[in-house]
């Protein structure tokens, strides 16, 4: 069946609610409205107000009370309405959620999922187009994933909810309406693994979330010029699936990491360091990064200049191949 990415999430959440009575969804406007992106559409109607909870407008409390619910045996799935609004909850996530299993010497587990629509390209006002994933990937104790397509959205959200560790779940909001064929009976691979989504031999493009599609389009365009690019969807940002990354780069000898987030100290910096360490003798060129500029996210009318696109990725590919 052909579904959109946001439908995949909706179906995945519905399945999780059906499979485990301890799963609860909480967030702003997730009830009657079904969320501003309609990800939770119809769920409160079918599972009730105790399991799909419209919360007061306070992100720190969404996460803080989710921690309390988890301590009581629940598996809360929090929706943060937009990327830029996660910061009031940052303290609870970093000082409490991430550390509690460690502090308790393994006695407490915190199976909390925090869903965050992220990234730009939808013409939004400020604070609605951010890519804050590196802040979370830098925090030990958290797991961080990003889905890039409808099929992954359906399976990954269920896997994240089943995970006993806290998971920050990034959703590429500009790809919510992308379509793909879903076979619900498929067996998904492990959640914390990368996937080669297009095999190639000349260079590896590494991306996640919204940039996977951009990289696939770049690979298609490059093929017309006789360049055979491999595209790896990182999927898991913490932990990184270094084995898959390294296997690809050892094969191609070249790597370009692409994300919307600002380049400096982004996920690309970590990937570049890992690749340099593990693929040094296979590299034909330095690992290059393509990302947002080191500026605040700009006004919508100029965001297309700021965001990496096919041309900027291709430019990096050309530079890498020129070595």
């Amino acid at each position: 069946m052909a579904i959109t990415l946001n439908k995949g999430l909706n179906m995945g959440l519905r399945k999780a609610l059906e499979d485990d009575p301890k799963v609860v969804i909480m967030g702003e406007d997730v009830g009657k409205l079904g969320g501003v992106f309609r990800i939770t559409d119809g769920l409160q109607k079918d599972f009730g107000e105790d399991r799909v909870i419209d919360t007061p407008l306070a992100e720190s409390a969404i996460v803080g009370t989710a921690i309390g619910l988890a301590l009581r045996g629940y598996r809360p799935v929090c929706e943060i309405q937009f990327d830029g609004f996660v910061f009031p909850a940052y303290d609870q996530i970093v000082t409490q959620l991430a550390k509690m299993h460690f502090r308790s010497q393994g006695r407490l587990t915190l199976p909390v999922v925090i869903r965050i629509p992220f990234g730009g390209g939808i013409g939004a006002v400020e604070h609605h187009s951010e890519s804050p994933e590196a802040y979370f990937a830098h925090t030990p104790g958290l797991r961080v994933v990003a889905c890039s397509n409808p099929v992954d959205a359906y399976f990954m959200i269920q896997q994240a909810i089943r995970c006993d560790d806290p998971v920050i779940f990034f959703e590429p909001k500009r790809r919510y309406w992308e379509k793909d064929e879903l076979d619900e009976s498929d067996e998904p691979g492990p959640l914390f693994s990368a996937r080669v989504v297009r095999p190639g031999t000349d260079l590896t493009l590494l991306a996640y979330g919204p940039m996977v599609k951009t990289c696939l389009e770049t690979a298609t365009a490059a093929a017309e010029e006789g360049r055979d690019l491999e595209v790896v969807d990182l999927r898991s940002l913490s932990p990184l699936d270094v084995d898959t990354i390294v296997a690809s780069v050892r094969k191609t000898g070249r790597a370009v990491v692409v994300h919307e987030a600002s380049v400096t100290l982004g996920i690309g910096a970590e990937v570049a360091a890992r690749v340099t360490e593990d693929c040094f003798y296979s590299l034909e060129a330095p690992v290059l990064r393509v990302g947002g500029f080191d500026t605040p996210y700009p006004p919508a009318k100029v965001e297309e200049e700021w965001l990496p696109d096919l041309d900027r990725v291709m430019d990096a590919v050309d530079r890498s191949l020129a070595y």
Binding site: A61, T65, G68, R72, Q92, H101, S104, L108, D243
Partner: protein, 384 residues
Amino acid sequence: MSDQAERAAPGNGIDDSSPMPAPPETDLVQLLTPDGDRVEHPDYSFDLGDDVIRGFYRDLILTRRIDTEAIALQRQGELGIWASLLGQEAAQVGSGRALRTQDYAFPTYREHGVALTRGVDPVHLLGLFRGVDQGGWDPNEHNFHLYTIVIGAQTLHATGYAMGIQRDGAVGSDEGAAVIAYFGDGATSQGDVNEAFIWASVYDAPVVFFCQNNQWAISVPLERQSRIPLYQRALGFGFPGVRVDGNDVLASYAVTKAALDRAREGSGPTLVEAWTYRMGAHTTTDDPTRYRITSELDAWKVKDPILRVRSYLDKQGVLDADFLADVEAEAEQLATHLRTACRAMPDPSPLSVFDHVYVEETALLDRQRDAYAAYLESFETVGH
């Protein structure tokens, strides 16, 4: 000497003449006066016998002894730091004893007396301050969460836990469960605490917010946190608030028990402001002589939470020598246990830092652990 003159005394360096707001007596629930006399209150009563009060006396003595020993251990270099609860014993023992087994407590880092009432071995309280762990007891064995150092963060955990109790259907009867969240006067300025008030209120969550107002947030006095009495803030959030004499163990018990019962029956949260005083420093690294005056301390000394219970029991003729000797012996035994067990606490092994970061270990962290293990081993090889 006038208050102002005293504050301006040489070497004091404090010229702020604003007085501490005294609680209006009518607002303060008190059942046992500082002289040890029982008094009636229209809304709250303590109906249990003198045996229970003797039990409270024991708890208070043991709690103070934990504190005294821990301060000594810190002075001897066995603990890195200690957060003393001196003066707050009654608020903690009274509220802690009001909890039922099925209730759950979320403490700050100063709730040593509550920990005692929850059956936590006080030795486990020392690990955090010695630097060998970050919480050495099983929270679910005692229904007593780990200490929380980020001010006010635990009030949200308590509220969420209470929402879980609601979803379990474990609320709405006398058999229900309730949650108590501990915090201080300084914490009431935190966003998290105010958010917890809102959430508990709109969901009728079975949680009691127990604020020990000890008048000082390290060096900052109450008047810098609030323009109105703290318990009155509850009204703005839509639930009742009550100020109790936090140095009165009977009133602290009675008020907390009423609030817990109200919560377990499904009537929602209550804010209890326990009016007390931090007799010691904020922690062993603090120097209160830089910011507060001795006359304030002297005024609170006569309201000591233990003396009044002792006076009461004495007046009742139930403070016999055998009982006192038993309590003293138990306190000595506890002190010995604390000293011995504290010194015997081993440092964690270097590789233990990799344990329990995740429920399921990750390949990357395994790799880091293995590399560090090999690095450590390389020194051993050199040594042989």
